[in-house]
């Protein structure tokens, strides 16, 4: 393949990564924005989504006999289960440490190991796939400039699957829904009020602790949904949460902690550049540069690219 089509393939792969990353990072950003705590266990909810997707879809497929039912059931159930687990963790652990930022980090590190090791004990160390509900290969054209002017060609290997297009569409729809929820509904208003000033919100009768529990659950559900969507492309594995957490950290920090718009832009930036860089350079080197970049952004520009400076 020539350079042009190769680059386009990298961009398409990057766009899939960006879509999943945007979903996951928006959950992390939401939790940080409203609750002012960093959830280190966020990557494990992503892993949980993927593992639950495998469990649910294989259970449903064996009961109903194949088809897309398994995947549909996984999309509906896995985020709910992960969200419920997160709400339980919030009520039993985070609420009791009073959402103190540092103690919450230590507690969520504990939660990280509990979820990861529980997955190892029940799901096991193998990586397992989930069949996508549909997976048609769509060939893509490329414009070539010959001596007789531009014409369309169909380079071998330049294609995308319908499932990958579906992932991009689904992520965009969910993010639009999240944006509408935050800006256009009463629930969003309550969440924004809590984010702006916890004490005043409480004084106005907003049940802050229930809002916190709900936000923590919603954040985890978003990560789990990202996990469900990725599992037909990558396999489910109990250690997949670590890299995912790191990438979401990178996205959320570059985008500005707690800013949803910034998070989506940063996810596109990081997802696309990750796709492009890993195709042309060593992925390890790309990761080193990305982590160092993020550390330096935090050091020199803590408000991120679009976020507002902390008050």
């Amino acid at each position: 393949m020539e350079f042009g089509p190769h680059l386009m393939l990298a961009v398409l792969e990057g766009a899939v990564t960006a879509a999943v990353l945007a979903l996951m990072a928006s959950g992390l950003s939401l939790v940080f924005g409203v609750m002012r705590v960093v959830n280190v266990a966020h990557g494990q909810f992503f892993m949980l989504g993927a593992v639950l997707a495998w469990a649910v879809s294989s259970a449903v497929s064996s009961a109903l006999g194949g088809g897309a039912f398994g995947f549909v059931a996984a999309v509906l159930l896995a985020p709910v289960i992960a969200g419920a687990l997160a709400v339980a963790a919030d009520l039993t652990v985070l609420k009791r440490v009073g959402y103190d930022p540092e103690r919450t980090i230590v507690a969520t590190i504990g939660l990280l190991y509990i979820l990861q090791q529980a997955a190892l004990m029940t799901y096991g160390p193998e990586a397992r796939p989930v069949a996508p509900p549909f997976n048609d290969r769509l060939a893509l054209p490329w414009v070539a400039f010959g001596p007789e002017g531009p014409r369309l060609i169909w380079p071998w290997g330049l294609s995308i699957t319908s499932y990958k297009l579906f992932v991009m569409g689904a992520a965009a729809a969910v993010l639009a829904g999240l944006w509408a929820l935050m800006t256009r509904t009463g629930i969003g208003l309550v969440m924004r009020a809590t984010q702006l000033d916890r004490e005043t919100a409480q004084a106005f009768g907003i049940p802050v602790e229930r809002v916190y529990a709900g936000v923590f659950g919603l954040g985890a559900a978003l990560a789990a949904l990202a996990g469900v969507l990725i599992v037909p492309i990558q396999q489910a594995h109990y250690l997949m949460g670590g890299d995912a957490l790191l990438l979401s950290f990178i996205v959320v920090i570059i985008g500005g902690l707690g800013s949803l718009g910034g998070t989506v832009i940063a996810a596109l930036l990081i997802g696309l550049s990750d796709g492009i860089v890993s195709v042309f350079f060593s992925p390890t080197l790309a990761k080193i540069l990305a982590t160092l970049l993020v550390a330096l952004v935090l050091v020199f520009r803590p408000e991120g690219l679009r976020g507002k400076a902390a008050r």
Partner: protein, 313 residues
């Protein structure tokens, strides 16, 4: 004399550990030697976390800097054990100075994430340089090279006593430090940084000093670990090894001199026990972290200090 009991307690610990050298069965003998080196790492971590109140999630990079700073010149340049020990400690000191200068521009949660990111980059760098470090597989330091000042460190007895010497030096070093003006300013920064600054202390320089001291001690532990047990591998630079000292110090008691040792000893045996039962032994670490945060943020030695002995350093 007020300090008498305190010095007595710590000398007593060293004496017990010395006596154990002759009493322990072979397996526990090796384990306690390992625990003493890792407790040195925990004590290094404690200088920053327990006494200065800065929570780092990236100390594995200092431990690994010491380990690779020792192992790389030994395997590739044929450096002797003594000079290599110094290059290991030096590498950790330089790295901690650089990381401190950058990371200390942030506070609180941002400091944790910056240290986590730097440590991640350091671990990936070790993997990237696989030609020399051999990545996850690691490098083995041959037995013949592990001779320091004429002492063969592959011999269990010698190794145990060398570990004890390192442990004692850092234990009494910490005890001395926390009674110095420097140590008291660190505690003041932990309790209320703005007030310490208002009182005229240069808090940035004190915090930088704490990062460098903490990183260097952690690096010394890493270098000693590589030299004593003859192996340097990338797994020591992974996030696990940044979380472990936090866990040990939290369990033993942050901001106490003896706490890191107690925490390391208990946790090491607990994880050792659990790893015989299930591959998911890190579950213990997770449960311990959550329970400690919820019910005993002071740790073992912190509880002793709260209930019985208010002057315990």
């Amino acid at each position: 004399m007020r300090g008498g009991r305190i010095i007595g307690l710590h000398l007593g610990l060293i004496a017990v550990l010395f006596a154990l050298n002759f009493l322990l069965p072979a397996y526990s003998h090796g384990t306690v030697a390992r625990v003493m080196v890792l407790a040195t790492y925990a004590m290094g971590y404690n200088i920053l976390f327990g006494y200065t109140g800065l929570l780092s999630l990236g100390h594995a990079m200092f431990f690994a800097a010491g380990m690779y700073g020792l192992a790389m010149p030994m395997t590739h340049l044929g450096l002797g054990a003594g000079p290599a020990l110094l290059t290991g400690i030096g590498a950790a000191a330089v790295l901690s100075l650089g990381v401190g200068l950058l990371a200390l521009r942030t506070r609180g949660v941002a400091f944790m994430i910056v240290t986590l990111m730097f440590a991640q980059a350091a671990w990936l760098t070790i993997l990237l340089a696989g030609r020399w470090t051999r990545g996850d597989e690691g490098v083995v330091i041959p037995q013949a090279d592990r001779v320091l000042l004429g002492l063969d460190l592959s011999d269990p007895q010698t190794r145990y006593l060398a570990a004890l010497a390192l442990f004692s030096a850092v234990l009494f070093g910490t005890l001395w430090l926390v009674r110095q003006p420097m140590g008291r300013v660190l505690v003041a920064i932990r309790e209320n940084e703005d007030r310490a600054e208002l009182l005229g202390y240069d808090t940035f320089r004190h915090k930088l000093g704490a990062v460098v001291l903490s990183g260097t001690v952690s690096g010394a532990a890493g270098a000693a670990y590589g030299l004593f047990f003859g192996y340097a591998g990338a797994s020591f630079a992974e996030t696990h090894y940044s979380i472990f000292p936090l866990l040990w110090v939290l369990l033993g008691g942050a901001g106490t001199v003896i706490g890191p040792f107690l925490g390391t000893l208990f946790m090491f045996y607990l994880i050792d026990l659990a790893s015989g039962l299930t591959p998911a032994y890190m579950l213990i670490a997770g449960v311990a972290l959550v329970l400690l945060t919820l019910f005993a943020p002071q740790g073992l030695a912190g509880e002793i200090r709260r209930r019985w002995w208010r002057g315990l350093p």
